[in-house]
Symmetry: C3
Amino acid sequence: MTRTLVFGGARSGKSALAERLAGDSGKEVVYLATAPASAHADDSEMAARIAHHRARRPPHWRTVEEPTALAATLCALCAPERIVLVDCLTLWLSNLMFAPGQDYPDVGTITLPQSFHDERAALLDWLEAPSTGDVIFVSNEVGMGIVPWGAVSRAFADEAGRLNQDVAARCERVLLVAAGLPLALKGAPC
Amino acid sequence: MTRTLVFGGARSGKSALAERLAGDSGKEVVYLATAPASAHADDSEMAARIAHHRARRPPHWRTVEEPTALAATLCALCAPERIVLVDCLTLWLSNLMFAPGQDYPDVGTITLPQSFHDERAALLDWLEAPSTGDVIFVSNEVGMGIVPWGAVSRAFADEAGRLNQDVAARCERVLLVAAGLPLALKGAPC
Amino acid sequence: MTRTLVFGGARSGKSALAERLAGDSGKEVVYLATAPASAHADDSEMAARIAHHRARRPPHWRTVEEPTALAATLCALCAPERIVLVDCLTLWLSNLMFAPGQDYPDVGTITLPQSFHDERAALLDWLEAPSTGDVIFVSNEVGMGIVPWGAVSRAFADEAGRLNQDVAARCERVLLVAAGLPLALKGAPC
């Protein structure tokens, strides 16, 4: 059973690569979308992005939507004959950090909600337990630009980078994607 | 005949590497600059960047300036005994998206001008036709920072990333440059 | 005697990797911190970052703090039985560009202070002289996001990229770090 992290910048082709790897596995693919369901109604830009992703996926893939409870959902879905494709960790992180009603100051230290810490720890615990099925995680690289203004943006960049490190350390295979082309940082090349 | 994409961040050394590859080819080099001619007069910062690039190039290289009609210009210039160096695709994309008189809303869906779609399709068509001469494309990686505020910036990041993917898929050789050092993602290493 | 550049995005794991390389060398490690001492008092976010770094380092490593005079400090510290870990070049660059009392216009050409040019040239001169001891430089990749608004941010991105290129050209080993995983762009892999 293999855990794979596929990460890269915006429009790097990371989702398409992850979908190709999932399809090529020959296993039943379950697509675990972390976009919140409310996004469809509220935000035409997000809705367009989701529709773009959905149009590319084979219609026989089952889709499960779960914006926050990732470890519990993986625990329920993973099975030897299946591969679960999680798209994406960065959106899940954003859902946890920017829950409705959550406010942050513009400067100073950011205190993240307890649910963020709990869900993050649950995912890393799940990754350390013996694997029960193949998983591919898609994630964004967001730390290679100018350090953003605003304590909240910096906190998000920090957490996204730390999450990539912690997930990569627990995966057998890590692929960085740029211009649609994969580069193996860990495990087998494509 | 080889098509090469050299891409990387701002001040990564991508142009210098592309110029070295062009010079080492032993062929006649034509430098296809996509900076609009008006930039020289309007914008002292852009003028300084252009002067910096120009000072580094051998004086016997012919320079052709074309801000938008890239496919037609490549079609006219490419020849077996020549290598055309296009610097750069990201500026060309910016010229197409931000033509004078073109306005975009701050939020919501961005509708790009028809000339953008036409020129983009013409470039990809040209890349799919049999090659008539060597070309090196320089492009920017802009998607590895925090997702920018503003729908226009996000649309630009999306289009820049998609363009890199589509051009990379049609090139025989793709080099990512960081800290002045190349990394081959496709084709022969440097 | 080896000079190594370890660079990557924010929270890429570059400092942790550099610390591991320093510790694994078996030599006496001197940690050269470029964070200005005043940061501890003025800025709770910076203080938290410094404390996070410090907690990870072995207590027997000597720490030297030097925000600007890098070449002179390296000259004084380097010795065959020692390895000096400089964390980080990007903060040093920021200290030189944004010295107290230094103002920049929002648009147009940025004129950097003479002390910036002097210290930068001194570092490159020192790197070209015969090596007197091992050094590891940590630096940030900041050029792979959307080009930032504001002439000062663009100037900083330009200088950070140029510095990485110039230091990388003078190092025997260059490692790019992403998601905690190193990629050798020059010299031996990890």
